[in-house]
């Protein structure tokens, strides 16, 4: 059964590393739903966070193939791990009538979304949170009239380190 998997690939920040990753996934017939690449606290290390929709056995092969890249230090599929914080960011531009504005602002407040810009016919809102929260917000504001939105794709970080035995380290 296909389901969404979030995969964190830790790589050496070498030229063309993103092309290597995307090329590999394409070559092996895997589709990328979203990908973020960004530097980490160590300038030599990049993290690439991929969301792919595939069955478990395919994911195992994706992880192995990604590991084979010479520049790959670590690959983790965090989908079935509960110790990761996953976040996404969205900016939406909504077509808004004067009479609906209060409702929308109230809804935004409930979601901790921020209004960035308001003009006569549109409003721009930003929101961050876990992907489910983003999805829910999109559904709730859809009736107001979405002009466009852009999502960041998922990014993630481990909440705590697990020891080798799989037990919690510290709290």
């Amino acid at each position: 059964m296909k389901e969404k998997h979030t995969i964190i690939v830790t790589v050496i920040n070498s030229p063309g590393v993103l092309a290597r990753i995307s090329g590999l996934l394409y070559q092996r017939g895997f589709n990328i739903e979203s990908a973020i690449a960004a530097p980490t606290e160590d300038p030599k290390i990049y993290k690439v966070i991929l969301v792919v929709e595939e069955s478990d056995e395919y994911i195992e092969q994706i992880v192995k193939q990604l590991n084979k890249l010479i520049d790959t230090i670590r690959v983790v599929d965090i989908s079935h791990k509960d110790n990761y914080i996953v976040r996404e960011y969205i900016i939406l531009k909504l077509d808004i009538q004067q009479k609906n504005r209060t409702d929308l602002l109230e809804l935004s407040k409930q979601f901790n979304a921020h209004v960035i810009d308001i003009s006569i016919d549109h409003i721009i809102i930003e929101l961050s949170g876990n992907p489910q929260k983003i999805d829910r917000f999109i559904e709730l504001v859809r009736p107001f009239g979405i002009k466009e939105y852009v999502r960041s794709g998922e990014f993630a970080m481990a909440e705590y380190q697990k020891s080798k035995k799989g037990e919690k380290n510290g709290s």
Partner: protein
Amino acid sequence: MNGAEILIDALKKEGVNTIFGYPGGVVIPIFDVLYSTPDIRFVLTRHEQGATHAADGYSRSTGKVGVCLVTSGPGATNTITGIATAKLDSSPLVVISGQVHTSNIGSDAFQETDMIGLTRSICKHNYLVKDVHDLAKTIKEAFYIAKSGRPGPVSIDLPVNVQNAKVKNYTYPETIDLPGYKPVLEGNTLQIEKLARAIEQAKKPLLYTGGGIIAANATDSLLALLDKTQIPIVVTLMGLGSVPYDHPCYLGMPGMHGTIAANKALMECDLLIAVGVRFDDRVTGPPHLFANQATIAHIDIDPAEIGKNVKTHLPVVGDAKYVLEELYRHVKPRLPDAWNERTTYWKKQYPLTYRKSKDGLISPQSVIDKLNDFVGPETLVVTDVGQHQMWAAMYYHHQKPRHFLSSGGLGTMGFGLPAAIGASIGNPQKPVVCISGDGSIQMNIQELATCSINHLPIKILIINNTYLGMVRQWQDLFWNKKYSQVCLKQGPTCPPDCTGDPKTCPFEYIPDFVKVAEAYNIKGLRASTPEEVIPVLKEGIETQGPVLMEFMVSREENVFPMVSAGKPLSDIMTGDKP
């Protein structure tokens, strides 16, 4: 020192004494250094594809990294097929291509191609060296990556200004720091013990081994294990020679053109021990029907191969030599039993046989069969791709590893002659035989010049059926005998529905291979009837220097046994009985 001098010094430090290649505009600085480097032999091929296959043949036959040097643009793109061939068969190469000036990269400059982009999916790793200070480190890493773990080709793209750039303090690095690349050599002991127990419990164990045995130099370890356990074994095309053809446990090659004994054993075994193989579709047929009575153990150095095509029950990631030696220590001796009797029975009951030709021409299998009488275990046999390749795999008496070279994974027509050149240069004391077809040989026939000029004593056998025989065989068996574009005599006046009756065909074969050989100052011989086969082989093999022997064989002989694509291994076509 400049970049070009650093490159050559680095190659020497890596033990390189032979480079195959072709010069061009942006690599002149490197060739300028080679001009005064007598301790490196540069082999000038006639095409960059030939250079890459030659480096590959050199590598496969010697176990060393093959090195290839070409220019940018067309020089670089001409290596692509050679690099892909090496990748699919895990052959270690370092391919150095020139590149335009770094300031011109991306401007569609003269002879500029994006070599990194082009080779990304067909090499183990690649580098574009933009700073001369990274050059030495890059060479060191490239050689390490090419030969360690699962070997493979590494491409290095070297801009002309980096070749010319000066460096004050150059030292060749002694260590390598690749945090993302740490091949696992030592297989997990618990898994190996589990495998040893599984062997003891199995009633019908079977070994299935391939190119990984040769890459890991694990032949002796495998033979020791066979000695101790007497487990019947099937060996893939890439592994031929790792078990002598007359070994009592040996059942032959498995798969599409495998022996009946090998395929029957695969379908019936209850424990399959796969070592250094990748469950290629030409071996397995439909994966879910492959060895479906068996618990499958898979030993491989590449974790991504485990479970890729066929579900594995007992994985061991590690070097084949290490794991087989550990397995040898842990496994209890096993004596030949009913299972051995059964597999030996199959071997005797269904030997490889071929019929005498009915058309007065030579039966192609007989050429290989008789070749066995003229060559010894030291002979290196290199093939091209097609029917002749399968017949060579089946009928040649394989005795030693690294003595049978063939393009398995990519199936590259044109591999044979240049690879034989590389093998001959890497093994000057050994006889080399190149078995080719009339189609394949023409894909790199220009390398006859390289062969002739370097006085390489390669004996080239062309099995000429005037067809692209393997495709014709498929059209014969599965496409209602519609021979579309497979007859090499076909011209514009031929009837479209011609089924190739040689009696009615008015055309001569083009080219005349004997004359072609003579044009290259190579002795050319032709056998047109079965009676001429032995005299031609005798004269050809006994003649000093390169010889081309053409054998006019039955036009429509097919390779049997055969399992059709998509069918399970139990579904074997045997063709006509002799």
